[in-house]
C-alpha cells in the first residue's frame, strides 16, 4: 500500500455505521435461534450459535460500503467462512445463487462465486466484540467487495439455488451482484 486511501467510486468515508432496520428490530432468542443451510444441496445443515462460534475461522480488517454512498473504514470482522458452510452442505453443481433470509423476513441474493470468495463470511463479531442486536446479532453476512445490503443481518436461512429471484432491495431495482468497485448499485 502507498498510504493513500483506496475508496470505491462514489463513496465517502464517515466515522461510524448508519443503522438501517427497514423491517424493524427483530427480537432474538439466541438459545432457540438457528442458521439453516438448505436448498439444492445433498445435506441440509442446521447450526446453533455455539456451533458457529466453534467454527469461526476468519478474521480480517476491511471497509464496509453502503450503497447510499457512505463507507466505514478499518472494521475488524470475525466469523465463519461462507465457503466452509456452503461446502459442508455439498451443493449441487447447478447452484448459481445464494438466497439469504433473515429473522425479520428481509431477503437478499448473492451470486455463488461471490459467496465462495475467501473473504465472504458469516460474521459473528465486529471490532473484537459479538455483534450488537443493531448490527445483526447473532450472525450477519459480510462480503467486503459487495454493497452492504447484501450483508444481511439476523440471518436465519441460507438457500442455495440454481435460479435467480429478487430479494428485498433487488425487487426495488438494486443490482443482482452489487460489486462496489464496479459501482453496481442498480440493475439498469
Amino acid at each position: 500500500m502507498d498510504g493513500s486511501r483506496h475508496v470505491p467510486p462514489g463513496q465517502k468515508i464517515i466515522p461510524n455505521f448508519i443503522i438501517y432496520r427497514i423491517l424493524g428490530q427483530p427480537n432474538i432468542d439466541v438459545q432457540s435461534w438457528t442458521l439453516k443451510v438448505k436448498g439444492e444441496v445433498e445435506r441440509e445443515m442446521t447450526y446453533t450459535y455455539e456451533d458457529l462460534l466453534k467454527l469461526a475461522d476468519v478474521s480480517y480488517v476491511e471497509d464496509f460500503h453502503c450503497v447510499t454512498g457512505w463507507s466505514v473504514e478499518n472494521v475488524r470482522w470475525e466469523g465463519v467462512s461462507l465457503r466452509k458452510l456452503i461446502e459442508a452442505s455439498k451443493p449441487r453443481d447447478t447452484v448459481k445463487w445464494v438466497y439469504v433470509l433473515s429473522v425479520d423476513n428481509y431477503t437478499t441474493i448473492i451470486p455463488i462465486e461471490d459467496a465462495l470468495h475467501e473473504k465472504a463470511i458469516l460474521a459473528l463479531k465486529i471490532n473484537g466484540k459479538p455483534l450488537t442486536l443493531e448490527q445483526g446479532f447473532p450472525a450477519r453476512i459480510f462480503i467486503p467487495h459487495l454493497y452492504g445490503w447484501k450483508s444481511a443481518k439476523w440471518v436465519s436461512e441460507i438457500t442455495l439455488l440454481s435460479y435467480y429471484k429478487d430479494g428485498y432491495w433487488e425487487a426495488l431495482g438494486y443490482h443482482e451482484r452489487g460489486n462496489v468497485w464496479n459501482e453496481e448499485r442498480f440493475k439498469w
Binding site: N105, Y106, W188
Partner: protein, 110 residues
C-alpha cells in the same frame, strides 16, 4: 415513453407490498425539474390504473442521493376518489438521466 411490466414481489410482502410495476424508458430522458418527473410518474401510474381500473393521483415525497451519481425521486400514489394511500413510485436517475421507474403497490389495497 416507458415500457412497463407488473410483477409479483414475494420479497416485499413483509413491507405490505404485493406487486411491483417496473418501467424502463424507451428513449433518453434528461431530468429537468420535478414537474417533468411528475409527468413521467403519471405515465407509469397510467399502467397501474389499468391494473386497478380506477383513477390515481400522486405527489412528490422526497429525493435522496445514492452515491454521487444517482438520485432517487419518490412519489406517493393515492386513489383519486377517497385519497387513500396505495403505494409509491421511485424514479431512479443517473447523472440526471432517468434509468427506471419502480412503483410498489400495497397488497392491502388490491
Amino acid at each position: 415513453m416507458l415500457r412497463c411490466h407488473l410483477k409479483d414481489s414475494h420479497a416485499l410482502k413483509p413491507k405490505g407490498i404485493g406487486n411491483v410495476l417496473e418501467c424502463l424508458p424507451l428513449a433518453t430522458i434528461r431530468v429537468e425539474d420535478l414537474t417533468q418527473l411528475s409527468s413521467i410518474i403519471g405515465e407509469a401510474v397510467h399502467h397501474v390504473e389499468g391494473f386497478w381500473g380506477e383513477a390515481l393521483t400522486y405527489s412528490f415525497s422526497e429525493n435522496e442521493p445514492i452515491g454521487t451519481d444517482y438520485i432517487i425521486y419518490t412519489y406517493r400514489v393515492f386513489r383519486s376518489s377517497d385519497k387513500s394511500y396505495l403505494g409509491s413510485c421511485r424514479v431512479v436517475t443517473h447523472k440526471n438521466f432517468v434509468k427506471s421507474v419502480i412503483c410498489t403497490i400495497s397488497s392491502s389495497q388490491r
